[in-house]
Symmetry: C2
Subunit: 264 residues, 2 copies
């Protein structure tokens, strides 16, 4: 089945064929329509989820009405892992497109992880990656202005979801200005203005809840331009370069990686 391909790089990595299949047999398969809720923040985490196809985003809302997009989940990724520890879901998980997901009840997943060190390691791998991701976002929020944060966010979307069209690279699911704002921690107004000027510079094309990057390199240029040269930088190890590497991989490899069904 195709499902196992998606999981081969994630939860099932390093498992032999039989155990992988038995793990899959224990999963509940579920279709979720675009815009639906997979789970809700605050409720007891009853299952570990893996996205097979489509796009899910993890969202938090604050008491004063702001919304934060914590993460876009891509096919193959684990989400809802607090279920392993008998915790509560820390975020809402909401589908952006029609999705297919697998889920394992907490106890089942716990049983599997106890028995298969490789699976435990895969969970660790996943968490480690997400931690790096969040550290990187804290770094950006702390040190970079909106324009650069926006460039980074868009480049990352391009890198993981971008599909090549005649107009340029397109993000194959609805992304509003507000979504981008919630992703980089600013208001939709600034995003709107920034994209406006970027459009006049032929970097992007703007549509309703749709994002097309006409010139990926030009968007990446926003990042380069920011550090013309090092001023007094002690030759300590330094971060912020990997995003540029990420971009390069984007331009070469990852365009049109997933086939995500457009929706709503």
């Amino acid at each position: 089945m195709i499902v196992s391909d998606v999981l081969a790089t994630g939860l099932l990595q390093g498992l032999d064929k039989e155990t992988a299949e038995s793990v899959l047999l224990l999963a509940e398969r579920r279709m979720v329509a675009a815009g639906d809720i997979v789970f809700t923040a605050g409720e007891p985490a009853c299952a570990v989820h893996v996205l097979v196809s489509g796009v899910v985003h993890l969202v938090q809302c604050t008491p004063n009405g702001s919304r934060i997009i914590v993460k876009y989940v891509r096919p193959g990724e684990v989400f809802g892992s607090p279920a392993l520890l008998g915790r509560f879901y820390p975020t809402d998980a909401i589908t952006v497109t029609d999705c297919l997901e697998l889920q394992w009840p907490s106890e089942v997943m716990r049983w599997l992880v106890d028995r298969n060190p490789a699976m435990a390691l895969n969970v660790i791998r996943n968490l480690e990656a997400r931690l790096r991701e969040m550290e990187s976002r804290v770094r950006d929020l702390s040190t970079e202005p909106v324009e650069q944060r926006l460039a980074r966010a868009i480049l990352q979307l391009v890198d993981t979801y971008g599909q090549l069209t005649e107009e340029g690279v397109e993000i194959p699911f609805p992304v509003s200005r507000q979504d981008l704002a919630d992703l980089i921690g600013c208001t939709l107004h600034v995003v709107s203005r920034t994209l406006s000027t970027w459009e006049t510079q032929r970097r992007v094309k703007r549509y309703r809840r749709r994002l097309v990057i006409a010139d990926v390199e030009a968007v990446a240029g926003v990042l380069y331009g920011s550090q013309p040269q090092v001023r007094e930088a002690p030759s300590l190890p330094v971060h912020g370069v990997e995003a540029i590497a990420t971009f390069h991989s984007a331009a070469k490899i990852s365009i049109g990686r997933h086939d995500v069904n457009n929706a709503t």
Copy 2:
């Protein structure tokens, strides 16, 4: 030995006595003087570390010279877990006080985790907690102004390290204005100004690289005051409350939890 007490809540949780002791026997014990480097960002992660006593912080530096304090590690916590996956250290780990740490070479830890599901689960628990921490920081950076971020950061320091003295609750290791700034993502100037006004309000006392909270509740009040009432809040699950809960536990329980040797 006392070491095992520290670890009982962390890496060794749920292990029977014999295996716990054999795990400890495989560890290398290491004293690190205040201000020294445990490991450096970018170098191959060769060992998983656990802090036994003292304080370590994880730090990142950006190309344009900013510094971010990613985390204060407290006794019992695991750090350097990328070693498990054969990655590179993503941050510098630098001691704030004299420290005692244990470390396991990557392969050894990998061997242990493969053999003891409980240990794998403990690593997962640790990563999960750190992920929540970082998500919370992203939320704060995105939505809250400096004064509230500062209040939260200080309350968290109080919660995990605070010691009750006659002046109030003290953070038992050196914390500069720059440190606080790097923790909440702003400049030392804003921190300085904010602490100034807080001192006139008898909330804190200011010293050189030393922080005393005279009135914990008053500092927590900064957070309450921020959301006078909900404006249009849909009754969706909401975040930002747990920080207040955190504070309450701070006021009651956690003062004087660790005995950290002051240094430098």
